[in-house]
Each structure stands twice: as C-alpha cells, then as structure tokens.
Symmetry: C2
Subunit: 221 residues, 2 copies
C-alpha cells in the first residue's frame, strides 16, 4: 500500500504546481502547448515547423525536455526566440517533464517577451500522460511507422490529449498502417480529439494544425 | 529528499527480486531475454520471428507486457508454446515491467515445459533501463524511423543492453538515418554491445540474431 500512497501524493502535488504554472503563463499572456510522443515520432520537427509558421506574428519560447543531451535545443537556438533545456536523467522522475520541474524552469525564459511556449516532453507514451504541466493544450504525435495500434496499447495519453497529429504520412506507401482503423479507435477513446494527418518532413497537412493553433493563441492574447 | 529515498528503496528491492527470478529461471534451465524498445519499434514482430526460428528445437514462452490491451498476446497465442499477459495500467509503475510483477507472473507459465522465455517489455526507452527483471540478456531494438540520435538522447537503456537490433532497415531509402553515426555513438556508449541490422518485416539480417541467440540458449541448457 505504501508505494501507491506515495504515488498519489506525488500526483496531487503535481496538479497543484501545474495550476500555478498555468496562472503564471496566463499572467504573461503566453499560450503553452505540451507536446508528447514516442521517441522519434517527430516532436522536434513539428516544433521547428511551428516556430517557422509563427515567426513575424508571435515570439516563441521552447522548453526542451530530454533525458540527456542538448541536441534538440541546439536545433532550436537559431529559430526560436528563447530556448531552455531540461535534462531529466538525474531527476527522481526521468520519463516525463513534471509540473515542479516546469515551475523551476519557467523563470529561465524571458516570460515578458514571448507569446507562445512549446514544451517538448520526454519521448514516452506512458509517463507524460499522468502529469499535468500547466499547458493550455496537450498535443500528441503518432507516427505511421509506430503502427496503428498505439491508441489501444497506450490509451491514457490519447484520452488526455486535445490534439493528435498523425505524422510521417509521407511513409504511408512503405509501412502497414490502417488510417481508418487508427482514427476510429482513437476517436472511440476520446471523441473530442482534433486530428490532423501531417508530414513534418514534407509539410503536407500542416496548414490545418497551424490554423487551429493560430485560433487558440488568439484566444489568449 | 523523501522522494529520492523512496525511489532508491524501490530500486534495491527490485534488484533483490530480480536475482530471485534469475534463480528460478536457472533452476528450470530457461533462457530469458528482456526485450525493450520505443513503442512500435518492432518488439512483437521480433518475438514472432524468433519463436518461428526456435520452433522444433526449443519450447518458447512469452511474457507480454503492455500498459493496456492484449492485442500482442493474441498474436502470440497460436505460435508460442505458452503466453501470459501483464497489463501495467493500474500498477503503481506503468511504464515498465518490474521484477516484482515478473515474480508474480512467472508461476502462471509452465516453467517445466519451456526452454526460452521472451519478455516483451512496455514500449519505452526510459523506465525499462532502470529495472532488472532477472533475464539473462537485455535486448534493445532501435528502428530507423525513430532517428539516429536515440543513443545520445536515451543513453541508459543502451548502456545497460547486451544486444541492439537496428530494425526496419528496409525503410532506409525513405528515412534520414545515418547508420555509421548511430553505430559509432552507440558503441562509444557501450563498446561491448552486439549489433545486428535487421528487418523483422522482410527477415533481412535476422540470421545473425538467431545464431547469437542459439549460442546463448545452448549455454544454459
């Protein structure tokens, strides 16, 4: 029993800190998205394409979560207006960003000078689904090579998402992925999900995501 | 401080139980592999191909770890000699199999009647790297569409692996993946790693893995 109680305690503390993070973001009129996916599903590519789209309209900050390394943050440095790297390897919870870590990291960003915050979570379909960070929207990427059974096997992350981007659609001719089956099962799980079919490599389908995002940002500003 | 102590306590209990699992497996002369990877990297396909290879020589049991669902166990049912499903969604640690769960699940398999146990871990590059299960070998799959930077970003799982299979090699023409860079970085991290380049879809390169596995099983029998 003891272990379960500790976990529950961690979760309730997390949600309180996440609410404080949201307040801080709202006070600065920053729209924040928590971007989650398996390793290599395309989170970094999506964020890079999104910053490019927002350029000239909004200033973008990135909170880059990785177990180790700063390779993704380095890719962001020349395109985002501000970047901060979080490495989780030595933290007690390594498999996801948690609200407390976000709370400690937010002051390292120039909050008065950014309009949008993209938080790239750790590559993981399990842990990030359990931890609120304070973001306004939770965005999940599924990539075609992972297979169409991910919503069945990792339901919680899809259940708690606002948007799902089905990425690497350019690989459809080369992999077995039943788009109709995927969409049917993920929408059965979470009927209010907004779905986009995209390729962050070719740009295919990203207009839909950009339009949705522009509308969400406008609500905050 | 409290949280860290709890985590350390969990880890030390885990390793003790893992050692007991190993003893139980050795007593029954069962060779066990802990198969780890990101979601959708090809764990299930590798296990299915491996059972097919072992058929006629050895009896194979599968411990199928999933957050939710039993879709993979159903695929195994007609090919493996014994299958047991573990769902972690309601457990205190959902993102990996842990030694205690393996210990409770092993008695559900006909231990006197199997020679090889393939444990399919939860799709995750973070949590499984921390938890010994009692398996003789730790096997990691990396798939080409995930990108060649996974060893840099998720070092611990590669550091603790015995074998890495670079899977979905048939997709090489369609994705950006620098094989030389991948091999160089993963071997710098763990020079004693055994590497195979394979496609579990086409069968390409699997002979090397089968030969290695046959030799390892022979050491136990």
């Amino acid at each position: 029993m003891k272990k379960v109680e500790v976990v529950q305690d961690v979760m309730s503390v997390n949600d309180t800190v996440a609410a404080a993070n949201r307040e801080l973001l709202d006070r600065h009129k920053i729209f924040a998205a928590n971007v989650m996916a398996s390793p290599g599903a395309g989170k970094t590519s999506l964020i890079l394409k999104t910053i490019e789209h927002l350029k000239g309209k909004y200033k973008t900050g990135v909170m880059e979560g990785d177990v180790a390394s700063s390779v993704d943050a380095e890719k962001m440095e020349n395109v985002a207006d501000a970047v901060v790297q979080v490495n989780t390897q030595k933290l007690s919870i390594a498999c996801t960003l948690i609200a407390n870590v976000v709370s400690q990291t937010l002051p390292k960003l120039p909050l008065d000078d950014i309009d949008v915050l993209l938080m790239e979570n750790i590559g993981n379909l399990v842990c990030p689904s359990r931890f609120l960070l304070g973001a306004h929207k939770r965005v999940v990427l599924s990539s075609l090579p992972e297979g169409d059974d991910k919503p069945i096997k990792y339901p919680l992350i899809f259940l708690n998402a606002d948007v799902v981007l089905i990425n690497k659609i350019d690989l459809h001719p080369y992999v077995d992925f039943d788009l109709d089956f995927y969409k049917k099962t993920v929408l059965e799980l979470n009927p209010r999900l907004i779905l986009f079919e995209v390729s962050c490599k070719t740009g295919q389908g990203l207009e839909g995501w950009f339009n949705w995002l522009d509308a969400e940002i406008a609500l905050i500003k």
